[in-house]
C-alpha cells in the first residue's frame, strides 16, 4: 500500500503543489492528468527523491519513503520523459551499470528485459537507437532493483503504436506481478490503461473517471 498525503511544494511565490493526497494499491496503475506546468513532473520528482517537498508524507508498506532513501532507491523506479541513457555506449554497457553480469544475462534470457525485447538490440549503441528502443532500455535500467513502484513521466510520448503496445504489455506484466505504476500522461491510450486517474489542477488532485469522453476531459483540465 502506497500512501501519499498532503504533499506541498512551492518555487518562490509560485505554489505548485498545495496538498496532494492519494493512495496506490499493489498492482494498480494510477494516471495523473493535467495541463503542461500543472505540477505532474514536480510530483513525480518528489516521489523519486529528486527534490524534497515543503510538507507531506510518502509511505510504502508503512515506511517513510522521504527518509528511507536507500529503501526508496530500491523500491521506486523513475523513468524520466527524456532519455537518461549514455549515447556513446551500447545497451549492454548502459545496463551493466545497474545489473551484475550474471543477472543481466538471466534477465535478457527470460526476465523483464527479455519481455521488453531489449535482447534484440543489446549490442546497439544508444545513439543509433530509435525512440522506442531508448524508452524500453530506460525502463530496463530503471527496474534493476525489482521495484514495487514505477514512476513514469509521459512514457510513450512521441513513440509509434507498435512500440507503445509493447510498453503497455510490459506495464500489464509489471502490474500482474504486484507492482504499482504512477503515470503522468496526456495519452488517451495510457489513460485507458489506468485503474484510476487524478487531475492535477492548481496544485490540488481531484479523482477523475475517464469514460471515453475526450471533450469532457479537456473541459476538466
Amino acid at each position: 500500500m502506497i500512501e501519499i498525503k498532503n504533499i506541498k511544494k512551492h518555487y518562490g511565490k509560485h505554489k505548485v503543489l498545495m496538498g496532494v493526497d492519494f493512495n496506490v494499491e499493489p498492482g494498480e496503475i494510477v494516471g495523473i492528468l493535467g495541463e503542461n506546468g500543472s505540477g505532474k513532473s514536480t510530483l513525480l520528482s518528489i516521489l523519486a527523491g529528486l527534490q524534497k517537498p515543503d510538507a507531506g508524507f510518502f509511505n510504502m508498506d508503512g515506511k517513510d519513503m522521504l527518509k528511507n532513501t536507500k529503501f526508496r532507491n530500491d523500491m521506486v523506479a523513475y523513468v524520466p520523459q527524456e532519455t537518461p541513457l549514455i549515447p556513446e555506449l551500447t545497451a549492454w554497457d548502459n545496463l551493466r551499470m545497474w545489473y551484475s553480469s550474471d543477472k543481466l544475462k538471466k534477465e535478457l534470457k527470460d526476465g523483464f528485459l527479455a519481455m521488453l525485447g531489449i535482447d534484440q538490440f543489446i549490442k546497439v549503441p544508444v545513439n543509433q537507437m530509435s525512440g522506442g528502443m531508448k524508452k524500453r532500455l530506460t525502463i530496463g535500467c530503471a527496474i534493476n532493483s525489482s521495484p514495487k513502484l514505477m514512476l513514469l513521466d509521459e512514457p510513450t510520448a512521441a513513440l509509434d503504436l507498435v512500440c507503445k503496445e509493447r510498453i503497455y504489455t510490459y506495464f500489464e506484466q509489471f502490474k500482474r506481478r504486484g507492482g504499482s505504476l504512477i503515470i503522468a500522461t496526456h495519452e488517451v491510450q495510457e489513460i485507458e490503461l489506468c485503474d484510476k486517474c487524478f487531475i492535477l489542477k492548481e496544485g490540488l488532485m481531484t479523482p477523475y473517471r475517464y469514460d471515453g469522453d475526450i471533450p469532457h476531459l479537456i473541459g476538466r483540465l
Binding site: 529528486l50 524520466p80 520523459q81 527524456e82 555506449l89 551499470m97 532493483s145
Partner: protein, 413 residues
Amino acid sequence: MVSFKDYLLIQYKRIFKLLPGIVAMILVVAVLLSGAGFAIIHSDTYSAEKQRYKLGVVGDTDDEMISLGVYMLGTLDESRYMIELVEYEDEEKAKAALRQADVSAYIVITEEFSDALNAMTNDARLKYYATSGQKGISNVMMDEIALIATNIIVNSETGICTLRDLMKEEGYDKDIRHEKVNDMFMTYISALISRTNITEVTELGLAGGLSTPAYYFAGLMLFFMLLLSFCGISYFLGVKDARHKFMKSKGINSACQVLGEYIPFLTINIICVIIIIALLTIAASSGFLTSEELEAMGFNHLHELAVKLLPVSVMFSALGFMIFELLIGVINKILVAFMLYIGMGYVSGYFYPKTFFPELVQKVGEMIPTGVGFSYFSAVLQNNPQGMYLLGMFFYTATFLLIAIWARKQKIR
C-alpha cells in the same frame, strides 16, 4: 543500489570511447601551439631581441668629438653587442622609424648640446625619445642604453675637450696638443675595450626571473593546458538533465555525479599533457630540440615536468568542468570558455609580459587561477618554493567543483 565506483567506471568507459577524437584534437592543438612556440623562439624578432636593440641617433654628429663618441659606441664599446646605432639625417625620419619599430628609441643631439659640450658648460641635454606606455623590458633596456650613450658621449668627451682647452690656454703648440689629445683618445679607447673584461652580459628575465624561451614556453604550455578542455568537449555534449535526475533517483547524488565525471575528464587531460611531454621528448631525442634549447626553456628532465604540471592540470580541468557545467549549448560552452581563457591568459601574462599592464591589472592577473598557475609553473622552472601556489590551486579547484555541484543540483531540481 549503484555505487560511486560503478558510476566512475561507466564514465571512464564513456570518455575512453571518445578518446580517439580527443587525441586527434589534442594533436591538432599541439601542432598549432608547437608551431607558434617554434616561430617565437626562432623568429627574427626574437633573434634580434636576443642580439641588439637599435638606437637612432639624430642631429649634429659632424662635431669631431661627438662623431668619435658615436663611432666608439658603435664599434668599440661592449655595449655594441646590445646596441646598434642607426644614424638619421633628421628627426622626422627617426620618428617614423620609431613608429615602425625599426628602432627602439632615438637620441637627438642638438646644436646647443654640441656647443655646450665644446664650451664645457654642460647646460644642454641630449633628447631621448622612446615609445610610450607601461614600462616593459624594452623600455627598461632603452633607459639603460640611453644612460650608456650619455655617459660615453658626455663624460668622456668632456674630459678630452677639457684637456684640449687647458693645453691651449697654457700655450702648448698645436702639434703637441694634437699628440696629447690623441694619447687621450687611445687611453679612452683602451678603457672602453677593457669594459669587455669587467662586464658580464646576462639576459634579463621577462618575469620572475624566467628567460625569454622559458617564459614563452611556460605561457604556451599553460595556454595549451587551458585549451585541453576543448579537446574533451564531446564529453559534455548530449548530456541531458534527465540523466542527472535518473542517477539521483538511483542514489547517485550531485556531488558523486560531478566527481564521477570530473575524475575521468581530469585523467584525459593528464593523458593529453603526457602525450605532449612525450612529443617533446621525441623532439629532444631526435635532435629537433637541442639540450641547450631545453635548458633555455627552464628544464632538463621532461618526465619530471609531467609530474610537476599535475596540480595545474587538476585546477584547469576543474575550471573547464565548471564552465561546461554552468553553460548550456555547445556554442555557448565553446565561445564563453574560449573568451574566458584568452582573457585570463592575457591578463596573467601568457602572451605578453604582465608588466605591460597597469599595476592593478597585474595584481588581478596574478591572483586569478591562470595567474596562480603561471606563478606555480615559473617557480617549478626556477626550482623555487611552490607551497603557496599549490595551496591557491587547491582552493580554486575546490571552489570550481563546489560551483559545479551546485549547478548540478539546480539541474536535478
